[in-house]
Symmetry: C2
Subunit: 242 residues, 2 copies
């Protein structure tokens, strides 16, 4: 038996999120189907965490256990041949037998893309939150930095996060930076882990500050403003120890 | 009556090409519907030329005549509000009353994108021809330059170009360059005009040269190799005199 770790890119607009759902297309569901086809029996594919419907991944991390002795390069190619082009295995490596992509993850990085130009190109539209209205960008940049550190992020979790009731909602943000790029605002956040909807709620709160709301910008504010749309969000990287 | 010239971007993967076709989604059909809705009666939208199903446009040029006195900025916004996000009006300006985007075009530029990396990202897949196999790129670069100048391009026209039978197939290519970019080959061609399928057939011929076929690379070869896939092709710009 071999434990295989893979890095996976996907266009979230094509899926009902990462996690298996009966009779809906999900990335985990598709991978379990394709890897199971190669193995000749049901295979469980574990991810580093869920992504919501519409959220994209540049490099999600997943793992599964195989008996099939197929070399890693051939395995990657065989999986990609069976997947639609909206999901790609970027790399495959063998890891220790009890590797779990969620429990061993040490950091995750997300990126949220906001387009500030008046007209949104058809080629960018599925991958940005188009917000061409006035924003006090300096206030947003100041607030983004305030998210850094260890905080109880309960206020930024999805209301329906019932499966984690009683669990700690403290998370550590290693870096939280809003940057101006030509015609764009890019929010990059790297942390120990994230609650459901947390990044999109942080962005919704940044947008509230940009609209001139939230008088106090020196401490973590309450969640404020709607959850930002999924299509601007990318899971960029999941990091593991050596 | 005002004659309006617009620059239009579209994702060709969403349409059966530019030209109106009964009961199929086309860019021209959609624009005529939306502009007609604003004008309150049928409006004819003329383009600088057709693009095939699947071919993208960064800036196609079109024109139509309006009685409606709506200011240009409002017109652009109103059209974009009624269009799906897969088509965008980038700019609108008033031009002389008999402006025709096809007859007055002085040059067109196309770009064809080939991805050479083994794995094609889900985000790039709709917009490149993925060709990860060996190619003698230096031969392709040499041949691309040979296309420059005035030639009879009959051999590179679509077999079914019956509507132009008897018309000259001589076209002038002002520049024709194949460039290496990291993991990519980009073909850029600027010319007085192009026959149906011509750019995709030029690219198919470049690929044949890259595979080691076509012994003679000093003169215009016969069309060779299949028509390259539409999804790698972008209409980049249409130029007009002052």
């Amino acid at each position: 038996m071999r434990r295989i770790k893979v890095r996976v890119a996907y266009d979230g607009g094509e899926f009902y999120g990462w996690q298996v759902q009966p009779s809906l297309p999900t990335v985990q569901g598709l991978l379990e189907q394709v890897v199971g086809e190669i193995e000749g029996k049901a295979v469980e594919v574990a991810g580093s965490g869920r992504t919501d419907a519409g959220v994209h991944a540049l490099a999600q991390v997943a793992a599964f256990t195989l008996e099939n002795p197929i070399p890693l390069t051939n395995l990657r190619r065989a999986i990609n041949r069976l997947l639609p082009p909206t999901v790609r295995i970027l790399s495959a490596e063998e890891v220790h037998p009890d590797f779990h992509p969620r429990f061993e993850a040490q950091a995750k990085t997300y990126e949220y893309r906001m387009l500030r130009e008046e007209v949104c190109s058809p080629f960018e539209w599925p991958y940005v939150h188009h917000y061409p209205y006035p924003l006090e960008e300096d206030r947003m940049i100041r607030l983004a930095a305030v998210f850094t550190g260890s905080h109880d992020f309960s206020a930024f979790a999805a209301a329906d996060e019932s499966d984690t009731a009683g669990k700690s909602k403290v998370r550590t943000i290693f870096s939280s930076v809003l940057e101006r790029e030509p015609g764009r605002l890019i929010y990059r956040v790297r942390g120990s882990g994230f609650l459901k909807h947390m990044v999109r709620n942080l962005v919704g709160t940044l947008l509230e500050a940009g609209k001139g709301n939230l008088a106090e910008l020196e401490t973590l504010p309450p969640k404020s403003g709607p959850t930002a749309p999924a299509k601007g969000l990318f899971l960029v990287e999941v990091e593991y120890g050596e």
